[in-house]
Protein backbone atom coordinates (compact mmCIF):
# COMPACT_ATOMS: atom_id res chain seq x y z
CA UNK A 1 0.00 0.00 0.00
CA UNK A 2 1.18 3.53 -0.72
CA UNK A 3 1.68 5.73 2.35
CA UNK A 4 -1.66 7.17 3.59
CA UNK A 5 -3.51 4.28 2.00
CA UNK A 6 -5.28 2.43 4.80
CA UNK A 7 -7.27 -0.66 5.51
CA UNK A 8 -10.09 -0.07 7.98
CA UNK A 9 -12.19 -2.84 9.47
CA UNK A 10 -15.34 -3.31 11.48
CA UNK A 11 -16.63 -6.50 13.02
CA UNK A 12 -20.23 -7.38 13.79
CA UNK A 13 -21.90 -10.51 15.14
CA UNK A 14 -24.62 -12.47 13.38
CA UNK A 15 -26.15 -15.22 15.49
CA UNK A 16 -27.73 -17.65 13.09
CA UNK A 17 -28.50 -21.27 12.41
CA UNK A 18 -27.58 -23.31 9.36
CA UNK A 19 -26.82 -26.78 8.09
CA UNK A 20 -24.31 -27.84 5.44
CA UNK A 21 -24.14 -31.01 3.37
CA UNK A 22 -25.93 -34.33 3.66
CA UNK A 23 -23.82 -36.26 6.17
CA UNK A 24 -21.79 -35.57 9.28
CA UNK A 25 -22.34 -33.15 12.17
CA UNK A 26 -22.49 -30.05 9.90
CA UNK A 27 -25.53 -31.53 8.16
CA UNK A 28 -27.57 -31.38 11.38
CA UNK A 29 -29.24 -27.98 12.03
CA UNK A 30 -27.06 -26.03 14.43
CA UNK A 31 -25.97 -22.43 15.05
CA UNK A 32 -23.01 -20.10 15.36
CA UNK A 33 -22.13 -16.63 16.63
CA UNK A 34 -20.64 -15.58 13.31
CA UNK A 35 -18.14 -12.75 13.71
CA UNK A 36 -18.10 -10.99 10.37
CA UNK A 37 -15.22 -8.60 9.76
CA UNK A 38 -15.58 -6.22 6.82
CA UNK A 39 -12.36 -4.66 5.55
CA UNK A 40 -12.21 -1.56 3.33
CA UNK A 41 -9.09 -0.23 1.63
CA UNK A 42 -8.68 3.32 0.40
CA UNK A 43 -7.10 6.76 0.75
CA UNK A 44 -7.64 8.86 3.85
CA UNK A 45 -9.45 12.17 3.32
CA UNK A 46 -6.86 14.64 4.63
CA UNK A 47 -9.52 17.03 5.86
CA UNK A 48 -11.58 14.57 7.91
CA UNK A 49 -8.84 12.06 8.73
CA UNK A 50 -11.17 9.25 7.64
CA UNK A 51 -11.13 6.65 4.86
CA UNK A 52 -14.88 6.21 5.24
CA UNK A 53 -17.51 7.59 7.59
CA UNK A 54 -17.74 5.55 10.79
CA UNK A 55 -21.49 5.97 11.15
CA UNK A 56 -22.12 5.05 7.50
CA UNK A 57 -19.94 1.96 7.92
CA UNK A 58 -22.02 1.02 11.02
CA UNK A 59 -25.29 1.65 9.24
CA UNK A 60 -24.39 -0.43 6.19
CA UNK A 61 -23.36 -3.43 8.29
CA UNK A 62 -26.39 -3.05 10.57
CA UNK A 63 -28.85 -2.81 7.68
CA UNK A 64 -27.36 -5.39 5.31
CA UNK A 65 -25.99 -7.99 7.71
CA UNK A 66 -27.33 -7.70 11.25
CA UNK A 67 -30.94 -6.69 10.53
CA UNK A 68 -31.27 -9.30 7.76
CA UNK A 69 -29.46 -12.31 9.18
CA UNK A 70 -29.13 -11.98 12.96
CA UNK A 71 -31.45 -14.54 14.54
CA UNK A 72 -32.21 -16.22 11.22
CA UNK A 73 -31.86 -19.55 9.47
CA UNK A 74 -29.22 -18.81 6.84
CA UNK A 75 -30.42 -21.69 4.66
CA UNK A 76 -33.57 -19.67 3.98
CA UNK A 77 -31.41 -17.04 2.25
CA UNK A 78 -28.52 -18.93 0.66
CA UNK A 79 -28.37 -22.24 -1.18
CA UNK A 80 -25.02 -23.15 0.47
CA UNK A 81 -24.07 -21.82 3.91
CA UNK A 82 -20.52 -23.08 4.47
CA UNK A 83 -18.17 -20.39 5.84
CA UNK A 84 -16.61 -20.13 2.38
CA UNK A 85 -19.97 -19.56 0.71
CA UNK A 86 -21.08 -17.02 3.32
CA UNK A 87 -17.84 -15.00 2.98
CA UNK A 88 -18.43 -14.84 -0.79
CA UNK A 89 -22.16 -14.04 -0.49
CA UNK A 90 -21.60 -11.29 2.08
CA UNK A 91 -18.81 -9.79 -0.06
CA UNK A 92 -21.05 -9.80 -3.10
CA UNK A 93 -24.01 -8.14 -1.39
CA UNK A 94 -21.87 -5.56 0.46
CA UNK A 95 -19.88 -4.59 -2.65
CA UNK A 96 -22.88 -2.70 -4.00
CA UNK A 97 -23.26 -0.67 -0.78
CA UNK A 98 -19.80 0.95 -0.71
CA UNK A 99 -18.17 3.30 -3.22
CA UNK A 100 -16.64 1.29 -6.07
CA UNK A 101 -13.41 -0.45 -5.19
CA UNK A 102 -13.52 0.35 -1.46
CA UNK A 103 -14.60 -3.07 -0.20
CA UNK A 104 -11.43 -5.11 0.15
CA UNK A 105 -12.33 -8.35 1.91
CA UNK A 106 -14.92 -10.04 4.10
CA UNK A 107 -13.82 -12.42 6.83
CA UNK A 108 -16.35 -14.77 8.41
CA UNK A 109 -15.29 -16.33 11.68
CA UNK A 110 -17.60 -19.25 12.23
CA UNK A 111 -16.11 -20.48 15.53
CA UNK A 112 -12.93 -19.76 17.51
CA UNK A 113 -11.27 -22.49 15.46
CA UNK A 114 -12.08 -21.48 11.88
CA UNK A 115 -12.51 -18.41 9.72
CA UNK A 116 -12.92 -17.77 6.02
CA UNK A 117 -11.80 -14.82 3.90
CA UNK A 118 -13.11 -13.73 0.53
CA UNK A 119 -11.39 -12.87 -1.70
CA UNK A 120 -8.05 -14.52 -0.88
CA UNK A 121 -5.45 -11.75 -1.02
CA UNK A 122 -1.66 -11.69 -0.95
CA UNK A 123 -0.25 -10.00 2.15
CA UNK A 124 -3.67 -9.95 3.84
Amino acid sequence: MKPNRFRIARQIVVRAMHQVGQTGPCSRPHGHDYRVEVILEGEMDQRTGLVFSRSEFDEILQRHLVDKYDGSNLNEFFKVTSGEALAREFFSLLEKEFPKGLLHQVRVQETVKNYFEFPALPGA
Binding site: R7, A9, R10, M44, T48, G49, L50, S53, R54
Partner: protein, 137 residues
Protein backbone atom coordinates in the same frame (compact mmCIF):
# COMPACT_ATOMS: atom_id res chain seq x y z
CA UNK B 1 12.41 -12.23 5.43
CA UNK B 2 10.49 -12.81 8.61
CA UNK B 3 7.95 -10.59 10.31
CA UNK B 4 7.83 -10.11 14.09
CA UNK B 5 4.80 -8.43 15.65
CA UNK B 6 4.47 -6.94 19.10
CA UNK B 7 1.45 -5.27 20.65
CA UNK B 8 0.93 -2.75 23.40
CA UNK B 9 -2.24 -1.13 24.71
CA UNK B 10 -2.93 2.40 25.85
CA UNK B 11 -6.03 4.27 27.01
CA UNK B 12 -6.81 7.70 25.62
CA UNK B 13 -9.65 10.16 25.19
CA UNK B 14 -10.46 11.98 21.96
CA UNK B 15 -13.15 13.63 19.93
CA UNK B 16 -13.49 14.23 16.19
CA UNK B 17 -13.90 17.85 15.10
CA UNK B 18 -12.54 19.62 12.02
CA UNK B 19 -12.28 23.39 12.70
CA UNK B 20 -12.46 24.28 9.00
CA UNK B 21 -15.93 22.72 8.68
CA UNK B 22 -19.25 24.08 9.96
CA UNK B 23 -21.01 22.69 13.04
CA UNK B 24 -23.56 21.00 10.78
CA UNK B 25 -20.88 19.39 8.58
CA UNK B 26 -18.99 18.16 11.64
CA UNK B 27 -22.17 16.59 12.98
CA UNK B 28 -22.98 15.01 9.63
CA UNK B 29 -19.48 13.55 9.13
CA UNK B 30 -18.52 12.64 12.69
CA UNK B 31 -21.90 12.14 14.41
CA UNK B 32 -21.60 11.27 18.06
CA UNK B 33 -17.79 11.30 17.86
CA UNK B 34 -18.04 15.11 17.74
CA UNK B 35 -18.64 16.24 21.35
CA UNK B 36 -16.88 18.99 23.37
CA UNK B 37 -15.17 16.65 25.84
CA UNK B 38 -14.87 13.46 23.85
CA UNK B 39 -14.90 9.83 24.86
CA UNK B 40 -12.32 7.13 25.49
CA UNK B 41 -10.85 3.97 24.04
CA UNK B 42 -8.53 1.20 25.09
CA UNK B 43 -6.40 1.21 21.97
CA UNK B 44 -4.10 -1.65 21.05
CA UNK B 45 -1.14 -0.96 18.79
CA UNK B 46 0.42 -3.81 16.81
CA UNK B 47 3.73 -3.14 15.10
CA UNK B 48 5.05 -5.69 12.60
CA UNK B 49 8.74 -5.46 11.77
CA UNK B 50 10.30 -7.29 8.82
CA UNK B 51 13.91 -8.31 8.66
CA UNK B 52 16.30 -11.23 8.47
CA UNK B 53 16.67 -13.46 11.54
CA UNK B 54 20.19 -12.86 12.87
CA UNK B 55 22.80 -14.48 15.03
CA UNK B 56 22.40 -17.44 17.32
CA UNK B 57 18.98 -16.27 18.51
CA UNK B 58 17.67 -15.96 14.93
CA UNK B 59 15.59 -12.99 16.03
CA UNK B 60 14.52 -10.29 13.58
CA UNK B 61 14.63 -7.82 16.45
CA UNK B 62 15.11 -8.27 20.20
CA UNK B 63 11.48 -8.33 21.37
CA UNK B 64 12.28 -6.53 24.62
CA UNK B 65 13.72 -3.71 22.49
CA UNK B 66 10.60 -3.65 20.30
CA UNK B 67 8.50 -3.58 23.49
CA UNK B 68 10.60 -0.65 24.76
CA UNK B 69 10.00 1.21 21.49
CA UNK B 70 6.25 0.56 21.74
CA UNK B 71 6.29 1.84 25.31
CA UNK B 72 8.15 5.00 24.28
CA UNK B 73 5.65 5.84 21.51
CA UNK B 74 2.44 4.97 23.40
CA UNK B 75 3.28 6.19 26.91
CA UNK B 76 2.93 9.89 25.93
CA UNK B 77 -0.62 9.10 24.76
CA UNK B 78 -1.59 6.80 27.62
CA UNK B 79 -4.14 8.21 30.05
CA UNK B 80 -4.12 11.49 28.13
CA UNK B 81 -6.58 13.40 25.99
CA UNK B 82 -5.33 13.31 22.38
CA UNK B 83 -7.00 16.60 21.37
CA UNK B 84 -5.83 18.58 24.41
CA UNK B 85 -2.51 17.00 25.42
CA UNK B 86 -0.79 15.92 22.19
CA UNK B 87 0.64 18.70 19.96
CA UNK B 88 0.36 16.55 16.80
CA UNK B 89 -3.44 16.55 17.21
CA UNK B 90 -3.97 20.26 17.88
CA UNK B 91 -4.60 20.81 14.17
CA UNK B 92 -5.54 17.39 12.86
CA UNK B 93 -8.45 15.17 13.82
CA UNK B 94 -7.26 12.25 16.00
CA UNK B 95 -9.09 9.63 13.94
CA UNK B 96 -7.70 6.12 14.19
CA UNK B 97 -6.17 6.67 10.75
CA UNK B 98 -4.28 9.79 11.89
CA UNK B 99 -3.21 8.21 15.18
CA UNK B 100 -1.86 5.20 13.23
CA UNK B 101 0.07 7.53 10.90
CA UNK B 102 1.50 9.41 13.88
CA UNK B 103 2.52 6.20 15.68
CA UNK B 104 4.17 4.77 12.56
CA UNK B 105 6.24 7.91 12.19
CA UNK B 106 7.25 7.77 15.86
CA UNK B 107 8.20 4.07 15.66
CA UNK B 108 10.26 4.72 12.50
CA UNK B 109 12.18 7.50 14.32
CA UNK B 110 12.86 5.27 17.32
CA UNK B 111 14.17 2.47 15.09
CA UNK B 112 16.36 4.90 13.11
CA UNK B 113 17.68 6.55 16.31
CA UNK B 114 18.93 3.15 17.43
CA UNK B 115 20.73 2.60 14.14
CA UNK B 116 18.68 -0.38 12.83
CA UNK B 117 19.00 0.30 9.12
CA UNK B 118 18.12 -3.23 8.01
CA UNK B 119 14.63 -3.28 9.57
CA UNK B 120 11.46 -1.98 8.05
CA UNK B 121 7.96 -1.67 9.39
CA UNK B 122 5.81 -4.19 7.54
CA UNK B 123 2.61 -2.83 8.97
CA UNK B 124 0.99 -0.97 11.82
CA UNK B 125 -2.44 -2.07 12.98
CA UNK B 126 -4.25 0.09 15.51
CA UNK B 127 -7.32 -1.30 17.24
CA UNK B 128 -9.65 1.40 18.47
CA UNK B 129 -11.82 -1.32 19.99
CA UNK B 130 -11.52 -5.11 19.61
CA UNK B 131 -13.99 -4.83 16.70
CA UNK B 132 -12.58 -1.77 14.90
CA UNK B 133 -9.06 -1.47 13.50
CA UNK B 134 -7.06 0.52 11.01
CA UNK B 135 -3.98 -0.78 9.20
CA UNK B 136 -1.18 1.08 7.49
CA UNK B 137 1.56 -0.57 5.46
Amino acid sequence: MTVATRRRSFSSAHFYHQKSLSIEENQRIFGRCDTPHGHGHDYTLEVSVAGSPKGETEMVIDLSLLDRILFEVTDPLDHRHLNFDIPAFRDQVPTTENVALYLRSEVEKKIADRGYTDLRIEKIRLFETPEIWVELR
